[in-house]
Amino acid sequence: MASNAIEYINHHLTFWNSDPSPARGFWSLHVDTFSVSLFLAFVFAGVFAMVARRASLENPGKLQLFVESIIELVDTQVKEIFHAKSNVIAPLALTIFCWIFLMNAMDMLPVDLLPNIAQWIGHSFFGLEPHHVYFRSVPSADVNATFAMSLSVFLCIIGFSIKAKGLGGWGKELLTAPFHTHNPIGAIILAPLNFIFQLVELAAKPISLSLRLFGNLYAGELIFILIALLPWGAQWILGAPWAIFHILIITLQAFVFMMLTIVYLSLAVEAH
């Protein structure tokens, strides 16, 4: 049982890698993460673009009202936090919120559902050994997915900083904040210190963004896997509360990622 359990957990925590050999390098792809998140991207883009196309001013349907309420939520946050003018930040925030929410929501599927379907397809149509078919259904429990987003946000932060303050202004800020002095000798002494501070602060943003999301979703998935190890009659005792609690986490993590993105970008635009 114990070795079975470890095997079960390990199997569930292994990605479907395009290169199954252990010596794989950078150029291997997590097919499950990529395909599931791509599918969810299509879901989001499809639903929202359809609503945007058919949007009725006088007589909005229920789906349109739902979409509008999400847009209203994002728009309110952006307007409250981000005071400069930008055509990018609001759509960016909306995309982050919806895409992360959908990726997180994959956690609500039964842990064995997609892996078993993948195993069945692999076994029946491709003659694969079921044990060697791996599938992880939650893309946001993959650091690649979370870092892809947080590094994109990081690039946006740098881009926004340079656009708002100019390359020189931003460079000057890196050397003169947070410790500031009017004494020229003091400024030279403080410059490396400031630079280190700023680099740490800058680097901490994408790392904290992605690791927070990854940690929450990875832990959630792991607990679902552990619950799945219980006898089937007892699973609901822990599974139901955890699933209900997880509804909150799914939404909250998507919201937090969006909010912090807006906050970081507004910090990037505003002067220190």
Binding site: S28, F48, A55, I71, D75, V88, V143
Partner: protein
């Protein structure tokens, strides 16, 4: 934690998704929502204006009604005054007319009396002549005494 090309793939998907949202989702929907908010605001403003117009109209109507009532009262007062005037005039006219009629009647009566007197005089004269004829038939010739008789007639 294994970093590989998935990160790049995800970043590309993300970039395309953000671009798509920027292009086809956010602007049409927010424009539509703004347009709707504007329309609602316009509608509310129009309703407010309509309410104010109605209030002004009601005030004007009340004014008109009040003025009309006042005019009507004035008209009634003048009419009453005129009516009493007319009645008074009619009374005056009637009394003068009555006096005139009475005076006319008196005149006519006087004339009638005069005429009757004349007729009576004629009659009496004839009667006297007839009587005198009868008396004097025998002794007096009517032709002879005509002068005398006419002088008597004149004396009446």
């Amino acid at each position: 934690m294994e970093f590989n090309v998935t990160l790049l793939g995800q970043a590309i998907t993300f970039a395309i998704l953000v671009w798509f949202t920027m292009k086809f989702v956010w602007p049409p929907l927010t424009n539509m929502m703004e347009e709707r908010a504007k329309r609602i605001a316009d509608g509310l403003a129009a309703a407010e204006r309509g309410k104010q117009d109605l209030e002004a109209a009601e005030k004007r109507v009340a004014d008109e009604v009040r003025k009309a009532k006042q005019q009507a009262m004035e008209i009634i007062a003048t009419a009453e005054k005129r009516a009493t005037q007319i009645v008074d005039e009619a009374k005056d006219n009637a009394s003068t007319e009555g006096a005139r009629i009475v005076a006319d009647a008196k005149g006519q009566i006087d004339q009638e009396v005069m005429r009757a007197k004349e007729a009576l005089r004629e009659h009496v004269a004839q009667l006297a002549v007839v009587g005198a004829e009868k008396i004097l038939r025998k002794e007096i010739d009517a032709a002879k005494h005509a002068d005398l008789l006419s002088s008597i007639k004149a004396e009446f």
